[in-house]
């Protein structure tokens, strides 16, 4: 259990480390330190075998994408259509999901590990140019990655005929400019093409078929790629020995909010429970001021909320999904008993309403409606009708059953993830998720806030034409 002044937020423990092994060194971001600690050995090992072999190694590691959807990286690489070239790698370093930060630390503290991961991915999947897209607001990460790229080019690890082989690749650093939705992979590609960052219509569901400049494109998250040097050096067997069969390896998880020791932890995937994380001595050491836990968001701001009832669930995608939420980007936000639930939900709904790109009407209009209605409820100007109206607007973004957690107190069974959606991407639903979770699990707090409705005829949001 150590923290380092040069890596604020990160807390090391006595656990296997795959991606944070160099955080203990103050100069972890330099080429010298990287080479002194096994750096670029994974690249050498990859180049010593065929691309197909390397791809197979990653496939058998079951390395799951760390951006949010949790799709296996080796499978994703295999979705490119045969015989179509050139193919590109786009690195998603546009981390902006509320509660999440791990990619920023990985870029600031170990940029060469990310670069090596990009090289291994390009080699294995036959990708001939790499674009490393870093969120605009991360000035230090941009500086560290730029310096690392310059050093790696000079030392012959990037560019023409890498380490004397036939493998040649450029890695191009690209900065974002502030737009959450660009984290969606097709929006990321639009942004990289110089356009407004709006998600593309699906299908195709994966840009692996048609992506950047209409070419097959793999989009991988920073943390995902940072795992590759370990897999290339030590092999899939050593990787899958950590964690569980369905969720191997480790994960970076940020726990923030009302805990005694908020931090970013590299945890063993699939087995560590939320109780371990929130209350464990080596993790967050309990709720601040000895307060009770009220609720927590288990997987970034887009995830449906959990109650103390769910504390014993492990950090495992399928189990968390069945319990009504998702692991998303590895971010837990904790609310203690002093939290005003409607206000907390409002901060998240505001975020997603603000970040709507405006392409889909249910999100553009619905998100703003949700925000305004919730705002007047929080301010004490709402009526009981407003609570139904929130659900009605939500229904137009996410029709049908919404996932939510079980509650023994409320005698409520869980509804499993995912939701249905009327939008292209998850930004619209994400504006509704906190409203729905808060209203489902803490309705009495809202009811205490609102006045009874005056009797008047309300026009339903969904009514069109007809007999009115």
């Amino acid at each position: 259990m150590t923290s380092f002044p040069w890596a604020p937020g990160f807390i090391e423990g006595n656990r296997p480390q795959i991606v944070t092994s160099r955080f203990q060194y103050e100069d972890s971001f330099t080429l010298e330190r990287y080479l002194a600690t096994g750096g670029y050995e994974g690249l050498r090992s990859a180049l010593a075998r065929s691309p197909q072999d390397m791809h197979e190694e990653v496939r058998s590691s079951t390395l799951l994408g760390r951006g949010g959807a949790g799709f296996p990286a080796g499978v994703k690489w295999g979705l490119t259509p045969e015989g179509v070239y050139p193919r590109y790698l786009v690195v998603n370093g546009d981390e902006s999901e509320p509660g999440t930060y791990k990619d920023r630390l990985l870029m600031e503290r170990d940029p060469h590990q990310l670069i090596e991961g990009c090289l291994i991915a390009c080699y294995a999947a036959g990708l001939s140019r790499c674009f490393l897209y870093i969120r605009g607001e991360m000035a230090l990460a941009q500086e560290r990655v730029a310096a690392a790229l310059n050093d790696a080019y000079a030392a012959g690890y990037i560019g023409k005929n890498i380490l004397g082989s036939a493998f040649s690749i450029d890695i191009v650093l690209h900065w974002g400019a502030g737009a959450y939705v660009v984290g969606e992979e097709t929006a990321l590609i639009e942004s990289l093409e110089g356009n407004r960052g709006m998600p593309r219509l699906k299908p195709p569901y994966f840009p692996a078929a048609i992506g950047l400049y209409g070419q097959p494109t793999i989009v991988n998250n920073v943390e995902t790629l940072s795992n590759l040097p370990f897999i290339a050096t030590k092999g899939a067997a050593e990787y899958t020995a950590i964690g569980t069969e369905s969720s191997p390896g480790t994960r970076m998880v940020a726990v923030s909010g009302h805990v005694r020791r908020p931090g970013v932890y590299e945890i063993i995937n699939g087995t560590t429970t939320f109780r371990d994380l929130l209350y464990g001595e080596e993790f967050c050491q309990g709720i601040r001021d000895g307060n009770d836990l009220k609720a927590f968001v288990p997987g970034g701001g887009s995830a449906p909320w959990f109650l103390p009832d769910q504390l014993d669930l492990p950090f495992e995608g399928r189990l968390v999904g069945a319990a009504g939420s998702m692991l998303g980007s590895g971010a837990i936000m904790v609310m203690d008993s002093t939290t005003d639930i409607p206000s907390a939900a409002l901060t998240l709904t505001k975020f997603y309403a603000h970040e709507s790109c405006g392409k889909c009407v249910p999100c553009r209009e619905g998100g703003t409606w949700l925000m305004r209605i919730l705002d007047r409820v929080v301010e004490g100007h709402g009526t009981t009708d407003d609570l139904d109206l929130l659900l009605e607007v939500g229904e137009s973004i996410c029709p049908g059953d919404m996932p939510h957690a079980a509650s023994a107190d409320l005698q409520l069974e869980a509804t499993p993830f995912p939701y249905k959606m009327t939008t292209i991407c998850f930004v619209g639903p994400s504006a509704y998720v906190p409203v729905h979770s808060a209203l489902t699990l803490f309705r009495s707090e809202f009811e205490a806030r609102v006045a009874p409705s005056r009797s008047r005829t309300r026009i339903p949001v969904t009514a069109v034409g007809g007999d009115s």
Binding site: P51, Y85, S128, G136, Y153, S191, Y213
Partner: protein, 207 residues
Amino acid sequence: MARLTDANVSIAEEIIARYPRAKSALIPLLHLAQEQDGWVTDEAMRHIAELIGVTPAEVLGTGTFYEMFKFEPVGKYLINVCGTMSCALLGADDLMHAAEEELGIHEGGTTDDGMFTLHRAECQAACTEAPCLQVNYRFKFRATPVEVRQLISDLRSGRLDDEVPPHGTLARIRQHIPADRGVGAVDPADVTEPPAWISAASQGGAS
């Protein structure tokens, strides 16, 4: 206001050359323009349009989508106080009030001397270090209202000039691909074959 300077045009040309299609350089060049002038001027947008072969309206259309680009002058220091969940739970409002009082402006405003602009920002990816803020995208972690006042006074007096460059400057280190090492960007329309190491591998061994 200004078109890009000659020095910045050479930087721009180097950036454009990295992409298979020039329009991809649009956002990086807007950053370059903002670094030059502190905000994005109409003249700079016209110049960028010429450099990458699009209309000025396309530059404006793309640029206005992104939060970080400012199309009117802002303060030398842009203070972004995070207001999303973890920061909100741990006192973001108190930081905003302290900043408003110290600067004598409201959220969204700029001081008369053009030194400071104050905004509420969305999640800055430092949630365990809440409440946090950024000055020109440089972090201040676990801030208190007292520290916010001190920070403003330090910025005012120039004591932080080395750590916090003026608004517009992001990374102070640029990527540079040496001419003898770079592979170079190729228009995708001119490529149909698999890359060399894939072809080599199918004939037995990449290296």
